[in-house]
Subunit: 245 residues, 2 copies
Amino acid sequence: MKTNHKLHLMYDGTDFGGWQRQKNAVTVQGELERALSVITRNDISVVGVSRTDAGVHAYDYVANVFLDTDKDMYSLWAGVNALLPETIRLKSIEPCSEEFHARYDAKSKTYVYQIDNSGYCDVFTKRYMWNYRYPLDYEKMKQAAGHFVGEHDFSAFMSQGGTAKTFVREIYSNDFEILGDKLRMTITGNGFLYNMVRIIAGTLVSVGRGDIHPEDIPDIIASKERKKAGITAPPEGLILYRVTY
Amino acid sequence: MKTNHKLHLMYDGTDFGGWQRQKNAVTVQGELERALSVITRNDISVVGVSRTDAGVHAYDYVANVFLDTDKDMYSLWAGVNALLPETIRLKSIEPCSEEFHARYDAKSKTYVYQIDNSGYCDVFTKRYMWNYRYPLDYEKMKQAAGHFVGEHDFSAFMSQGGTAKTFVREIYSNDFEILGDKLRMTITGNGFLYNMVRIIAGTLVSVGRGDIHPEDIPDIIASKERKKAGITAPPEGLILYRVTY
């Protein structure tokens, strides 16, 4: 009999074509399902909390999967990790309620977007930060970050190609930390539109360069026009940090 | 005419045979001298603050070099970075006093040693932390760390093969931070014997496992016997963090 299991994963997305299984790309879901299939000798289909794009990372990704296995959890965990690439780690696996659904049950998600503003590109963080070499006004970026909090129609901060049918999302908090020449935005909300976090990060960079004023953010949101916001920041700076249920 | 220049570097040591130039290995000094030679069209010999071993990293490595060039500092900096591998970055280069010597003038050095005590091995830190999977008593490790502070003969914490002729060194501080399942030791002193930081880190792990008591550290130091200390912790956890002059 198949029973439901909750999984926590971590991955460095640099070398993957995103989360979602694809025919012609190595993806996190594809690697995970392959490992679970080998261990349980069954075809496996995993439900993930969200699609992450190619190059995007996850610090604490949640998934669920129905498994029919007589293995204990430790053996499953160790076996799956032995079969996964080193850049994907199964942090934990445990039995859970039959009703638990990793995507539908998510109450909030937290993403981190990191920028390395050093001129030389920090070797320790280059896989996990956008190396933006030009001068930025950090204080203005911090002011702008606060304007995203609240319930808004975020159509101006959405790329084409998403599956969303409604565009109102609530942002609970958007913290902007200045750590020397490193910048970290930590944004929590009840949901995010396609590329929303990366467009918000790109817009903060436009603010930092002086092309957009912090006080213009409410008007840009209200306009619902994608072209008024900044560019879509590159994927390497984005990390799915935490999901609550 | 050759004039003296001070350099700050950063490198991810994973793929290098250490700092020092070698015939049969790719080293940081070798790569840096090659880049500077191409740019200045001269044979170049760089003086580094210390030899770091294969696999050891540097967050802020200091070197000096005599150069005869009519290039401005920005062109030199950008040119050298264009020629260096991506895992070595020249943070800055500037003219300095003819007397400045990166090795002899160093007043203190700070090293960081990092341990990832997660069972699964964190994908974001695996190149820069020792993944030690077994349970450790963090509080005991923290107690033990404090016992290294002060002026001592550190012969018990030295590998064979070093060039030191005296074995007394002063440790100014040794902070031990517990960051979830990550551990970070930050040690500052007027100098370090060969492998000293890695043997101290290995000894803290013996303390964490219960094989050595924190209060035994003074006796182990006093014994001057290498075999009473713990193992030499692996290089990937070690970072040369800062040098003062």
